[in-house]
Structures are given as structure tokens and as C-alpha cells.
């Protein structure tokens, strides 16, 4: 069965120089989409990933990461639309990198499809009436 999972990876400084994530694809046949990646001044790495593949492959891949010393957390950040603030302009539609917003063709209402959202947060400060916010 194909599964998709959003995860946050914390790499200790000892691993930041190694090509770890690439082995998820090579050895475990997983597809991945890097949502965010950064290395802190203490050289610890942080990466937000969406991984897709068959269930066994994903499990094996996660096991490999754990054994290597990577700490894995489920990705729980969400961005939510506060309907009462939205004025239905369209700035978010032009900005969202994954097309999570659309304007309905006849009513011109803005619809937000949360399941497509990668929680990159680009829309939050770009929305003039501040209708988008980080949800819990």
C-alpha cells in the first residue's frame, strides 16, 4: 500500500555532512519532497520532508534514519484559513507554490484546500487582512 507522510528530521552535527536523505530514494525506493531544510549555527540540521512510497519501504527508511541517529518527529504544523478575516481577494492564489488556494470560477470565492498545503507559511504575511495563520 502506498503511503505519504510528513516528517521533521533533526540531524546531529556529526551527520550534516553526509548524504543521508538521498539513500531513502536509492535504497528504499521512496519519493521525497523537501519542504524546508536548514543548518543551525551549531551545525545541527533540520529538514521537513514529505515522503511517499509503499508502507514497508517507508517503515524501513524511517528505521534506517533512526539507526543513523536522526531524530524523527511527525510534522504537525498546519496553516488555517480564518473565514471571518478573508475578504476574497486573490493574492494567496498567485503566491502559493502548491496551488492550495483556488478562486471559484463563478462566485469568485477563495477556497483553501488544506490537504494540499505544505505549511510553508508564504501566505501568512502576504495576506493583507491576515486571514491565514498557523494552526495548532
Amino acid at each position: 500500500m502506498q503511503v505519504s507522510r510528513r516528517i521533521v528530521l533533526h540531524f546531529p552535527a556529526s551527520l550534516t555532512g553526509q548524504p543521508i536523505v538521498y539513500r531513502l530514494a536509492r535504497d528504499y525506493g521512496l519519493e521525497f519532497n523537501i519542504i524546508k531544510a536548514s543548518v543551525s549555527p551549531e551545525e545541527e540540521g533540520l529538514m521537513v520532508l514529505e515522503v511517499r512510497g509503499d508502507e514497508q519501504g517507508v517503515e524501513a527508511g524511517m528505521k534506517y534514519l533512526s539507526e543513523k541517529g536522526v531524530m524523527i518527529e511527525p510534522f504537525s504544523q498546519r496553516v488555517v484559513l480564518r473565514e471571518e478575516r478573508c475578504i476574497h481577494c486573490g493574492l494567496c492564489v498567485g503566491l502559493c507554490p502548491v496551488g492550495a488556494f483556488r478562486m471559484e470560477p463563478d462566485t469568485y470565492y477563495i477556497r483553501f484546500e488544506e490537504e494540499r498545503c505544505l505549511a510553508c507559511g508564504l501566505c501568512i504575511k502576504a495576506c493583507p487582512p491576515r486571514a491565514m495563520e498557523v494552526g495548532l
Binding site: 475578504i87 486573490g90 498567485g94 504575511k125 493583507p128 487582512p129
Partner: protein, 389 residues
């Protein structure tokens, strides 16, 4: 000689009797297509329009009442936003784009401008309490040096919205031809023409339905911020000489309006603070203007549709900021509203900064008010400068 000829007085009499035929500018498109301008002019008395967008040249005059002892406001902050106090003792003007005094502005780039004058105005009409800090330098007649108070809109002695430039008759579309992302008053523009942003209600927009200001003039009564207001003058930068189509519809920013209205009758549904990333705070303003169909020419004007209204594409990456504006292309609002246009050989997404949803609601609301007989047309007491005058 016009075959249909109605006066403001006749139409107002029909409104009073509840007999006026009122339609929105969207509905008028179909009526004129079906019956022609003459048939439409016979049938329809009033066409309602609407627009809802950030309008930076907006603000409110407030009088916070005399204190004991008296103070002459010299420096005034409302919720930490500086207000202009160079008026009589307790009169101030809070402008929509004034950032809070402790805002980091664009020093933390791009600035987020979470709170400013536009938000003060929204808070006031929403009935929320605002905090005033008033400093005076002390005079014999106004000895007090400092007062702090918490006030709601109802506590202000007087409060009126006075916007020196609203309701632009058409506007440019913004594109970014540079190789970096830019943050403008037209929204975030991605590099290499990644998006095109526009800002007009098109066929619903007030001045596009009365292109030569035949009926909209000084004294026209309007829907302003959810309450009643008036056109008091042409707005700043009013430019009736802008290029027009053969039908007279401007293709570039043209006419503008200065408007006024009692803030105490307005609502936060139609006045909303805006935080425009990298640019500054502003205020979304909702305006609706009723247009009397005096004759077949006014029927033809109000029958204007999105495919007949064109906007010009301008580069905000270099041309606009450098004051070297050149027109990169012309597109109709029908094309813009489809969500993508062909620009320099590629398909580019188009998004509005103005809300068509809210513009529609304003036109419908105003239609309701007129049909109920509680909103009469204000006959202009003076004309706005026009190309034909």
C-alpha cells in the same frame, strides 16, 4: 435628442414610492444586451455599483473631546499609531498607511506591518477600545501636558472618514520583470513575470459605469464603509485625460473621488485594516455608488462589461519605481478574471487585490437600500473635471 429623459427628482420620487427599478451593474450588462440602451433606459431607473480594495489615501478625522484641564494635542498616538495633530486642540487625523510608532518597518525585510492607521479605523468601527496618548506643550489656554485615555468610537465627539483619493477609475496591472521577488502595494510579485496582479472591480466599478462623470459629482450620496457618505470633490491625481477606448472607457488609472462619511455609521465588514507585506499598512474600503439611468447614453455606459474594459500591464520591478512607466500590454478584465493571461509568450497567473465577492455584495446591499426607499439619490451640486468639459 435622447428618446428617454429622466431627472434625478423623478427617479427619487419613484424610489420614495417604492416603484423604482434598481439593478446591479452586473445585471445591467444583460439587460442592455437584450433590450438595447433605449429599452434598458426605459426599464431601469438606477444601476448600483461596488468596489472593495485597499485604498491608501484614506483616513479619519477624530475629535476626542476637551479634557479637564484642557490640552492642545501636539503629539498624539492611538494604539501606538501617530495621528496628525496640527489642527485645533482636540482634532486629529489618523491616516490609513501610518505604521505603529514601534514598527520595525522594512528593517526586518520584508516588513509585515501588522498594525497601522487602517487597523485603528477598523478597531474603531468594530466597537473596540483604543488607547490614546496625547502630549501637549502647554499654553495659557491649554495648560495640560499629557493625557492618556481609553475610548470607543461612541466616546469620540465627532468621527468622520475623509478619504482624499478613493475609487480609482480603472488601474494598472502589476508584473515583475526583474530577477528577484518584490513586495509592492500591488502585492507580492514573483520574478520573471511569475504573476500579474490587478485591482479593479471592472464592470462593477463605480466610475467605469459613468466614464465621463455625468451623474457622479460633488454631492453624490454613496455607500461608504457600510454607512452613508458623499462624494465631496474629485480625488487627488484625478486624471480625466487618461487614454480611453472608442466607447469612452479609460484604459489606465483615470478619475478618482474624494469621499466623506460619518464613521459612526460604518462597520468593520466594509472597512478592514490591511497589512501589505514590504509596503505598509492600509485600509480596505468598500464603496458603492448608485447611477441614475437618465437616458440611453447612461444605459449604454452602465451596460459596460468586463470584456470591454482594458487594463495596462506595467513592470514594478524597474519601470514603475523609477517613474519610467511603459505599457507592456493591454488585457481585458474578462481575461484577467479567467485566472491567466498570455504575456510575452507565456501563460501567467492573474490575481486580484480587490475583492469581486465584496464588490458584488456592496452593489446588492445598495440595491436593497434603494428599493426599500431608504436611500435617495444625491443630485450633484457640481461636476467633476471631465474630458468633455
Amino acid at each position: 435628442m435622447a428618446k428617454v429623459c429622466k431627472t434625478f427628482e423623478e427617479i427619487n420620487e419613484r424610489i420614495r414610492r417604492g416603484e423604482a427599478v434598481v439593478v446591479t451593474a452586473e445585471e445591467m450588462v444583460e439587460i442592455v444586451e437584450e433590450k438595447g440602451p433605449e429599452g434598458a433606459a426605459k426599464e431601469v431607473d438606477v444601476v448600483t455599483t461596488g468596489t472593495f480594495a485597499p485604498m491608501c489615501s484614506s483616513g479619519a478625522f477624530l475629535n476626542f473631546g476637551h479634557t479637564r484641564p484642557r490640552i492642545k494635542g501636539h503629539r498624539v498616538l492611538i494604539n501606538n499609531v501617530p495621528a496628525y495633530a496640527g489642527l485645533a486642540a482636540v482634532d486629529i487625523y489618523v491616516g490609513a498607511t501610518e505604521p505603529a510608532i514601534d514598527d520595525p518597518l522594512n528593517k526586518v525585510y520584508p516588513g509585515s506591518f501588522d498594525y497601522g492607521g487602517g487597523h485603528v479605523i477598523e478597531d474603531l468601527v468594530a466597537g473596540r477600545t483604543v488607547h490614546l496618548v496625547v502630549e501637549g506643550y502647554g499654553t495659557h489656554c491649554y495648560p495640560n501636558r499629557r493625557v492618556e485615555m481609553d475610548l470607543r468610537l461612541s466616546d469620540f465627539r465627532d468621527a468622520f472618514l475623509f478619504n482624499p483619493r478613493n475609487c480609482y477609475q480603472n488601474y494598472n496591472c502589476a508584473v515583475n520583470l526583474s530577477d528577484r521577488i518584490i513586495y509592492t502595494y500591488m502585492g507580492v510579485l514573483k520574478p520573471h513575470a511569475g504573476n500579474i496582479n490587478y485591482c479593479s472591480a471592472g464592470q462593477l466599478s463605480p466610475l467605469l459605469n459613468d466614464p465621463f462623470y455625468r451623474t457622479i459629482g460633488i454631492g453624490t450620496r454613496i455607500f461608504l464603509g457600510g454607512g452613508e457618505g458623499y462624494v465631496v470633490w474629485h480625488g487627488t491625481q484625478h486624471n480625466p485625460q487618461a487614454p480611453r477606448t472608442s466607447a469612452g472607457v479609460p484604459k489606465a488609472p483615470a478619475g478618482t473621488l474624494a469621499v466623506i462619511g460619518d464613521l459612526k455609521g460604518m462597520s468593520s465588514e466594509w472597512l478592514k485594516g490591511a497589512s501589505i507585506q514590504g509596503y505598509g499598512p492600509s485600509l480596505f474600503v468598500g464603496i458603492g455608488i448608485p447611477i441614475p439611468v437618465l437616458d440611453e447614453e447612461m444605459a449604454r455606459f452602465t451596460g459596460v462589461k468586463d470584456e470591454d474594459v482594458y487594463a495596462q500591464i506595467v513592470d514594478f520591478g524597474w519601470d514603475y519605481p523609477q517613474m519610467e512607466v511603459q505599457v507592456l500590454g493591454e488585457v481585458s478584465y474578462k481575461e484577467l478574471r479567467s485566472g491567466k493571461v498570455l504575456f510575452q509568450g507565456k501563460e501567467v497567473p492573474t490575481v486580484p487585490l480587490s475583492s469581486y465577492v465584496k464588490a458584488r455584495q456592496i452593489a446588492e446591499t445598495l440595491k436593497g437600500w434603494i428599493k426599500e426607499g431608504r436611500f435617495l439619490l444625491g443630485k450633484p451640486q457640481g461636476r467633476l473635471p471631465s474630458q468633455s468639459s
